[in-house]
Amino acid sequence: MSEYSWPDPATRPLLGKRISRVDGPVKASGRAKYTYDYNPDGLLAGKILRCPYAHAKIISVDTSAAEKMPGVKAVRIIQQPGTEIFWAGDEVAAVAALDEGAAEDAIRTIKVQYEVLPHFVSDAEPPKDVALNTGPLTQDDFEDLEDNQVPDEQVIATIKKNGISFKPSDKYLKAMQESGTSASVIQALRDAKFVEAATASKSPYKKTAVQKQGDPDKAFAGAAAVSEGLYGASCITHCCLETHGMASEWTGEKEMVVHISTQNVSGVAPQVAEPLGIPAGNIQVLEQYVGGGFGSKWGPDRWGMATVHLSKAAGGKPVKIMLERAADQEVAGMRPSGYGRVKIAADKDGNFLAWHSSSWGTGGMGGGGTPPLPYIFDIPNQHKQNVAIATNQGSARAWRAPTHPQAAVITMGAIEDLAAKMNMDPVELITRNLALTGKRADTYRDELRVAAELMEWKKNWHPRGEKTPGPVKRGLGVSLHTWGGRGHNSDCDLTIYPDGTVEIKMGTQDLGTGCRTVITIVAADTLGIPMENIKLLIGNNRYPVSGGSGGSTTTGGVSSSTRRAAVDARSQLFARVAPTLKAQPEELEAVNGTIRVKSDPSRSLSWKEACLKLGAMPMTVHGKNPDKEKPPDLTNSGVGGVQMADVSVDTETGIVRVNKMVAAQDCGLVIDVKTAESQVLGAMIMGISYALYEEKILDPVTGRMLNPNMEFYRLAGIADIGELKVHMMTGKGYDERGVIGLAEPPVVSPGAAISNAVANAIGVRVPFLPLTPARVLEALEQGGAHASV
């Protein structure tokens, strides 16, 4: 075993144990300072004037009155006259003033003339006569094809036929190649003809070419059972409790300090610097705590850049803009809707034969991404087609496990309905088809068994439609999920001081996932010292670059670079103290706060004594991920996961209650069981929330979001969650896979599992999430026959 490998269970005092998060006390006492809390002397408050129309052209902007208002220090037009606005709430102008009240008053005096243009906000099922999209592929379109693992020859043919409307840079092509795009597809992009997007169709509907596998027509014709249904999930928002925002301060002619609520501390400076034409290295980016991101917080955004310009205009004074809740809900992130009409077929034994889906959804102007259908199961014969709908609303942002929750609702719903049609237990139907899940079949088999035990599935499950009397019906549902989660690029510096202090610097961020805790555990475990000895510094772009926290890549990345740095530091320290211990460096071990000889533990130095041997100067080592020079690969990609839900549905009121949910989840080597379980529990709760309550409701008349708040955009509360049980899959078969991220996978299944449980309870499918009382009652009334949406 290489010395960088994760240690064996017998020799890891901290890894894989239950450890409280290291930033728990500072958060629990209210001392943790978030970007929203940044409040230096002289801070100016920024406010933004937003467009009230979902589609309009700015004719004129008159800020003269605002400039004369008391307390106003700077005014800036964000989008100039002549600009077309594509969603309500888009930024038009900004003001910085002595306090929020003064800034708000000034905003109200800005006069904007708009030419109001027709808008479109409906993501209802597209009409039948939508033409095939023959326009050039946007970057989104291309990435959709890749994300959905469309066969290379099809991707290449589409690129050749349609052309592309973006100019892929070498950097972009390299990144795509690194993330798995084949060389032939990269070459096709290089050779592709560039077509101006303006020549593309004006229709809001973009229909992809049919994707076909096998011979679906023949398979359906010969099937023993065919089930048809309608499934999907509405648009939801991220609703981070800390809204998006940024504060900027010019500390010199070309130097700035930026505080920003972001998932990507190391990546912000280049985005701020580029439009300003100043060196990115002149911008310091700081963030200690972030009040939720969930995929929505990356760059400076237009409001962040507004603080940059307002600060400049105000003589460099710090200017902070945090979005109001309404603006955050309307423009700062949403999860695309995803719906599908599905036909699925099996033979008499339940083996899946064929899949046919017509899917659609919206992610704002950009369409929103095609859910990977059928989810997880590679059904041999497939026919699928997607329509992306462009709507006039704030654009989609990555929402925890992008496209997977929608794909799970559509696929797992279809499978559950097929099981009901065949009078089969869905767990049995799924188990019969696990070979179609590929290399993770055994993981799913284990997890189905564990989850079924936690749920007492065999005892509690009944065939579709509870037959007992009374209006409240109870049912069970199941869903499977998957995610990648390979660790991102991460660098760190680990310094050992002669007094025994260990300091780690890394340009990462802790979104509440336990990133700080993971890094500290890995370092302390490797060095054999208590976690309290480690001083961890993150949240500053002056520290070694570490990747953005997206796609569940952080834990794998930061733990791997920390492990390599700590192993190297330990080796160097061994070399320094070996002569004192009259041993060779490789004969030493770092255990229990000592450096000692493995074969003779009585020959030892305390950690402090050992560090004194460094002399006057501290010692810094650098850790990296990935690092081919220092194998093995400590992180990996690909997890499974199974969840089951037990619900009660009141058939008179339509109210759905979750009685219980269980999760069996793998993520390779679990570094901290406690925070890992919290991730899964949190994901299940977030899932209950989007399954039952959350929906971004757009008004077709005004094009505006009707519930941009937190009383009508309802999150699940403590009363709504039922009993929750989590089982982390650990030990043999899991640990040796290395560290894999966990943030996304467990949030995929709750919607599907709850939807299936409701169908099992009441005997009909409620097609779309959230499963509101109105939708439940409608489904009961129609008896499951949904001719139209």
């Binding site: 800390e242 509440g512 709760i685 403590i718 009363a719």
Partner: protein
């Protein structure tokens, strides 16, 4: 209202709801004067503050704090922006989420839904006032032990609410918890841990 009422801040602090109904009921325009003034409405004198800044005195965490604030400034914004007590968070800003929960005269309130001038004379306790130095209260320690926090943004509000709840319900049932802690939202989904805190921390004293 009599002049000697001026010594009772709770009576002179802005326009009361009853006063406001009187004003709006008879359609008297509020004069746009700086500083507090008194107008005659329906035969009674009604004090009107603002719209300019007025002196405000707040009793927060045992200290008397003074500032010049516009009457429209909420207690939450005064605590956060003026006095730099940023533990209470502004999340929904309209009394739906509980992230700004603080104690006012021993009752839990949403600081976003109270004007600073109306909080004069009340004894205000924020999360900062619940600890001295770095020591945690038993409820805070229980949040750490049960990992009842992730991003932590809802946590201060939840801790104030949970502490008060446990004082009222030292031995809560699951149903008590469902009702008593429903005034706060968490986005990361930490309710399972918070439920465990409430069950394990009797009367604010940790028992497990």
């Amino acid at each position: 209202m009599k002049d000697d009422d001026a010594r009772k801040p709770e009576l002179t602090a802005g326009v009361t709801r009853r006063d406001f109904m009187k004003i709006s009921g008879i359609g008297v325009a509020v004069p746009m004067l700086v500083g507090p003034t008194v107008i005659q409405v329906a035969g009674e004198e009604v004090p009107v503050h603002g719209p300019g800044k007025v002196p405000v005195q707040l009793s927060v965490n045992g200290k008397q704090l003074q500032a010049q604030l516009e009457p429209r400034v909420t207690l939450l914004d005064a605590l956060r922006d003026t006095f730099n007590l940023t533990g209470a968070k502004r999340v929904c800003d309209r009394g739906a989420c509980g992230a700004c929960t603080i104690l006012m005269d021993g009752k839990i309130v949403y600081a976003c839904s109270i004007l600073a001038i109306d909080a004069q004379g009340a004894k205000i306790t924020t999360i900062e006032g619940m600890t001295e130095g770095e020591a945690l209260t038993p409820v805070m320690q229980s949040f750490v032990d049960h990992d009842a926090q992730q991003c932590g943004f809802c946590t201060p509000g939840f801790i104030v609410a949970t502490t008060h709840f446990l004082e009222q319900h030292p031995h809560p049932t699951a149903d008590d918890i469902r009702r008593g802690l429903s005034g706060n939202y968490c986005r990361c989904g930490t309710y399972d841990g918070i439920r465990a805190v409430a069950l394990a921390t009797v009367g604010g004293v940790r028992t497990s």
